[in-house]
Symmetry: C2
Subunit: 547 residues, 2 copies
């Protein structure tokens, strides 16, 4: 089937968009002031230099300007600004479309023999520079998994489904649903991101509180490496040395090309239920989430907005007059002056869902929470994949927006939330502009939770990336200094690579560099991604340490 | 507190033992015939060669014969035979007792500078040759974590407890219980094995079906390496590159010395309940287990004996006359001719446990199962840590016994069970003796389960290890050829190292070798364990592959 056309210079489908509601414009103008609108140049105005010659590769390879442009980068903030202004730093010299594992291995071997860099691409939604082609002396080929699609096999007894790496979210669920099964991994990029990309970047889905991160869903892997196919067949558990599947999960293409993934699937739930709850504040909300996770039953979705995100969410939502009056009355209560919106969803048997909801209701009531019914949850469910389109509309309207995320233990969560907000606000002030920082807790665990920050600011023409960088750097520094992980589910890419050593230690970097060098001796797979310096080929220094 | 004395040449406490019941002797004599009794030599008859000189190490170091003997090996079958016959192949030249992380690093650095091999030892219960000193040109020092004991810190908000690596099972639970918490990790070696050992070997506990393997319980780690301390602080989840904690978990001391572990703990359960169920056969039993895992609620303990283990279990259990008659009547039913004993246990709130038991009862009844009440479960609970003592008693009585374990997906479990039993039986026949192979499924997952085999045979004087090796080799070969993991929770050690490459691929071995060489350039940590060949120091061959 022909894929629905994707927007070449922004998020999502070309024929879909999400305008900024008038109420949100008012909120932003009041909070941040107006900015410079960033219009988008037409495709014909993008200057694409001639492609450098690349060796013959044993799979379909295209070098036309349109293909090169459409595979030049992901969808991070700098990517989108450069796409809109037509000012990309580099383009691939060719795009290669292998159709099966054998072709992937053959392409790797040809590319390894030649002096080219390979950028590995799944659904193309990286927001951390993981697939952005960078200038360099070597010609660059983008290897896309676009043609490795579909369900390869299903073991319905063991609830294991093996998908080719390029299979997109809706295709995964579409293949499983007729068998009464689902995966349930639903990142915001669900419609566009691929199984292989999820695994390569250690993705989390919006249901990961109940379903688990992709880390937990992977039972087996097939990886094409320059040295041949590496198979790690599905096992429920093992003690046969370190779990090497976990070394591939999150390796961001530096160890090889993930070609097939065996995933743990589950029966479609008999029943679903959800609720929006207003809790009296951020601390109270975090306590509710912690109690639900530590005492159970664990909801499938847990999503708590902080007061600023709650208030922005209200600004964005246009309700009928009566509903609006009721809402304003509730939010006008002194008790909910710093009110936080909490969305919960349960799935499973009717009995299980009913019991879980009752248990949860006791928890939120004990914390002063007030159930607002199913509407807010249903609205989120319906609109959750539309949110990223708003970025494009905001840029056109004069405001920049980006998101970043982290996670830490429950006892450190409030301090991390404060520190990151404060650092971002101060960084923007120093750079002479205002920023709004919104946050939600959206993936919860027994021992901690993730924080997902959205920041908005008025654009300054020509300095859009500089503004973004100032705030992003401050946030990254605050995260690492306050015990957060530099990324909970977006991945490292190039953006977070400078912070990785502070998180995993010099021994961690040495271990990763050693594995990368062992499996990719030429250092030609996704150079610059994950590790700041791609380990150089050639003899090691004695002692085995990187210089 | 002074530790209770351990048996130097067999399992457990010196003042505790488990005689072979008369009924079991009868069963064994009938099934296997009588064997040669393997008596144990007194300690004074063990010939211990003089210690080779070792460099001064910056921690308490002992070289007396008793310490060297008591740290020469683990408790695998060959270890115990050699201990009983006083014929160990090698002894450490010294035993080093660092008292904190700083001392461990200092010892590593001194040892790396000298030409010694280090064997890292936790509780000393390895059954796979993981801590057995082997002959070699280099003097060998055993570094024991025995003095790194106790709870280092507790974060009761995040339910995270940090223990020093040498802390033993009862000490872990003893430190947590007064805070209303538990870890719940209870391997059969619980009384003697240590936190660091659990992590180094990817241990599973008897409650791991409900609690998770140690892999899932580790939130953070501190590892002493020759290059310094490697800290991977507790995080609930991350996407910051591959999960390096998982690279340390199962690394069996080849990457460094685990000195502290932050574990995910949980509230003590309000209530526990268990039951013994008789199911009409092995297939029916596996179906019950699979249904419980895939549909939930998941029991904390699932333990299904195959028909042979069920019948041996009955032979071992002496009941009062009336109970015995009832039991014989039930097992005499045609429906239960190949009956299998299933033990289940639930823990949690009264409501949760009651509901889970009701749901499970429906599942086992649908499969023709019959609840036998709580007695069988309670007996298992009371006696489960006594079972390993039986090995020593059996050796004295003329029978060898060992265990081995694997895991695979549900759809392959029956075939794996058959193949391993068959291979072991045939191997014994070929070698001219009979063997009884018993099996239970004891760690269940949504996608598969572990199989734990016990095999018994009549000993042939002087050839005890040869007999064992013949059966063990056949089992390992059958496991690897039939899609099982070579070990589900005992670890690789030296015994399973020859099979690792067939499980994880040449790329997997290359990755492990590269990491080992990066963190232990001298190759002096647990040489021969995990990887067949300890990567040699010095320059690599071009292309990065091991020769």
């Amino acid at each position: 089937m022909p894929d629905r056309e994707r927007r070449w210079n922004g998020w999502g489908f070309a024929d879909e968009s999400a305008p900024v509601p008038e109420s949100a414009r008012t909120w932003l103008s009041k909070r941040l002031g107006a900015g410079d609108r960033l219009s988008a140049v037409p495709e014909r105005d993008v200057r694409i230099p001639p492609a450098r010659p690349v060796p013959d590769l044993p799979a379909t390879t295209l070098s036309d300007p349109s293909s090169r442009l459409r595979h030049a980068c992901g969808l991070g903030f700098p990517d989108v600004v450069r796409l809109r202004t037509g000012a990309l730093e580099a383009f691939p010299d060719a795009v290669c479309f292998p159709e099966n594992t054998r072709q992937v291995v053959a392409v790797l071997q040809s590319a390894a023999a030649a002096e080219v860099a390979l950028v590995l691409r799944g659904g193309g939604t990286s927001v951390v520079g993981g697939i952005t082609v960078r200038p360099g002396p070597r010609p660059t080929v983008v290897l896309t998994l676009d043609r490795l699609r579909g369900l390869a096999s299903l073991d319905s007894v063991s609830l294991l489904a093996t998908f080719r790496a390029g299979t997109l979210g809706p295709e995964v669920e579409g293949a499983l649903a007729p068998c009464g099964l689902r995966l349930g991994h639903e990142p915001q990029s669900f419609e566009f991101s691929s199984v292989g990309g999820w695994v390569a970047t250690r993705s989390a889905g919006q249901r990961s509180t109940g379903i688990g991160k992709i880390d937990d869903l992977v039972a087996g892997l097939e990886v094409a490496t320059p040295g041949g196919v590496w198979r790690l067949p599905a096992q429920p558990a093992s003690a046969a040395g370190p779990e090497l599947r976990r070394l591939v999960i999150g390796s961001e293409g530096c160890l090889g090309v993930i070609t097939e993934v065996t995933l743990r699937v589950r029966p479609l739930p008999e029943c679903r239920d959800g609720v929006a709850v207003l809790v009296p504040g951020w601390s109270a909300g975090m306590e509710v989430c912690r109690a639900l996770l530590q005492r159970g039953p664990v909801p499938e979705v847990v999503r708590l907005s902080d007061p600023d995100e709650t208030s922005f969410g209200i600004a964005l939502t246009e309700l009928p007059r009566l509903a609006s009056s009721v809402r304003n009355a509730i939010f006008g209560l002194r008790r909910f002056r710093h009110g936080c919106l909490l969305l919960l969803e349960w799935a499973g048997s009717l009995q299980k869902v009913t019991l879980a909801r009752q248990t949860a209701a006791k928890v939120w009531r004990d914390s002063g929470g007030l159930a607002l019914g199913r509407t807010g949850w249903q609205r989120w469910l319906d609109e959750r994949f539309r949110h990223p389109y708003v970025r494009d509309a905001l840029l056109s309207a004069g405001w920049g927006v980006d998101t970043l995320e982290t996670a830490t233990r429950w006892s450190a969560l409030a301090a991390l939330h404060n520190a990151v907000r404060e650092a971002m606000t101060v960084a923007a002030q120093k750079a002479g502009f205002r920023t709004a920082v919104l946050c939600h807790l959206s993936h919860a665990y027994r021992d901690g939770a993730s924080l997902y920050f959205t920041f908005l600011w008025p654009l300054r023409c020509g300095d859009e990336i500089g503004q973004w960088q100032a705030v992003k750097d401050a946030a990254s520094e605050a995260i690492i200094s306050n015990g957060g992980t530099i990324t909970h589910h977006h991945g490292v890419g190039t953006m977070h690579a400078p912070y990785l050593e502070r998180e995993v230690g010099e021994q961690g970097i040495a271990a990763l560099a050693a594995v990368t060098r062992a499996l990719d001796p030429q250092g030609f797979l996704n150079p610059g991604v994950l590790l700041l310096q791609t380990p150089e080929p050639g003899p090691r220094t004695p002692g085995g340490r990187e210089e």
